[in-house]
């Protein structure tokens, strides 16, 4: 699939260049890449916000193609939720809770049911109930983000697209939100597609990682596979998770060989213990 912005004007530019990929339902996929590499453009095709200039996208039994006349995308959007890069772009109601109800009610859920869902989802994203009846514009950036996420969860989608969901949250909040999506993915079998600049999050939570550069899909695979190609990543201006950086430094110091990539803190600790016990043989 290819996407060209401002086609046939002096501002024409190809944001996506023959990208092909498959995302299986129930999986957690992370999309990484340098700023401007086309990540947001790519994911906006998944719920039909953008149409491809050529190629096609299928989601379940929906097919989005360039020429096809405008079809009703509402059912698709009820199934594919989208959390935007900057949440303040979508809040408008008088109170946070009303804003969360907006999505479900658009998709035909009754007011009572929507309110029930909104309360559930606001609890889920960890917004204290004293903020529920305040204006969304009086909230902090991080709180707005939580309201926005709740607003998308309340629709009960099967797929959720997250465009940098943790940007602007404090470290604790980042962890909380990531854990929430991890849980939703594991327990409720929600398909998650996340755009992120945080390599640690990508490594820790994903089944599949996609790497974009200049509108092209450069790599795809399991986190271990992707992050063992450290040099390629660095050439694209990307990093590897901190845990790996730390272990690399340590193995360097000890004059040992690099091991398999690890992402969690406890695995890292295990590895360090092994290394310090002179257990290079283990690697």
């Amino acid at each position: 699939m290819t996407h060209i912005y401002n086609s046939k004007t002096p501002f024409e530019r190809a944001a996506l260049d023959h990208v092909s990929l498959k995302i299986s339902s129930g999986s957690f996929t992370s999309l990484i890449g340098h700023t401007g590499s086309g990540k947001s453009t790519l994911v906006q095709h998944i719920n039909g916000l953008l149409r491809p200039s050529s190629g096609s996208i299928s989601v379940g039994d929906f097919v989005i193609e360039p020429q096809k006349k405008k079809q009703d995308l509402k059912p698709l959007r009820a199934r594919v939720g989208y959390v935007f890069q900057y949440p303040e772009h979508q809040l408008f109601e008088e109170t946070a809770i009303k804003d969360v109800c907006f999505g479900p009610m658009n998709f035909g859920v009754s007011a009572a049911e929507a309110t029930k869902r909104a309360e559930e989802c606001l609890t889920l994203v960890g917004l204290p109930s004293l903020f529920w009846h305040r204006s969304p514009f009086d909230l902090s950036g991080g709180q707005m983000r939580r309201v926005a996420i709740a607003g998308v969860l309340a629709v009960h989608p099967e797929v959720i697209i997250l465009d940098e969901p943790t940007a602007g949250l404090d470290p604790h909040g980042q962890k909380e939100i990531m854990e929430l999506f991890h849980k939703l993915n594991k327990n409720s079998k929600l398909t998650i597609i996340m755009v992120t600049h945080n390599m640690g999050d990508a490594a820790l939570y994903s089944d599949q990682i996609l790497v974009m550069e200049a509108g092209q899909l450069k790599m795809s695979g399991a986190p271990e596979e992707i992050f063992s190609r450290e040099q390629d990543l660095r050439n694209m201006g990307l990093d590897v998770p901190e845990t790996m950086v730390f272990l690399d430094k340590l193995t360097d110091k000890l004059g040992l060989e690099k091991g398999r990539p690890v992402f969690t803190l406890s695995e890292t600790a295990d590895r360090v213990a092994d290394l310090l016990n002179g257990g290079a043989a283990h690697v």
Partner: protein, 268 residues
Amino acid sequence: MFNLVIGQYVPMESRVHRLDPRSKLISVFLFVIIVFLANSWLANIVLLLFCYAGILESRISLPFIFRGLRSILVIILFTFFLNLFFSSGGRLLLSLGWIHIYQNALIQSVFIVIRILVIIVVTTLLTLTTSPMEITDGMENLLSPFKKIKLPVHEFALMMSISLRFIPTLLEETEKIIKAQAARGSDFTSGSLKNRMKAIVPLLVPLFVSAFKRAEDLAMAMEARGYHGDTGRTRLHKLVWNRRDTVMMMIMALLAAILILVRVSGCW
């Protein structure tokens, strides 16, 4: 989504781009006046040729400009038919029920369309080849005599440059908000009028909120960088009047002379 050609700036290299904004502004101003001298075929052809030459010189592709004109096609057609149906004079060409079309009316309508067309092409060419910054600088410079009588020229120029600067930003923002709300199932492209009106609220509220926020941030950022109005302010880009600007003025004088000549001689 927003294919706005009119009012957009296309950074490129061409003789028209390199002209001083003041000479371009004066030329456009003059042009808009002398256009009204043209009341003959010859004069109108001269105007069209002038526009065509301008477009060629600016290196902006003709189809791109045409696409911009498409957005005002309705206005042009409306004016054309209004004139065609409701003025008279000359031979009766066609008569359909209550509609009578006269020869003079037809010619006048064509002239009026050409007039609108050339004015729009020339002003579009100005904005396409001159950055908003340059336009306001030129404007401020040309209007600076009015500072003597205490007109806030600098403030007006600043206001204008800020609004010009933020048009694309606001459009982008609008597009983003439309997308964000569409993702939540709101839809203002279909459904009954009432539903569409209702769907506007979720678009306008965030748009206003972010516009106000932007204005506040901008004011703060300007003050933080020591902006204190006009007095004692120096410029990064000085306007330079070159030979080509004088040449441009000559061309305009020539054009005016030709149009006056054609009009007085009454040919065609």
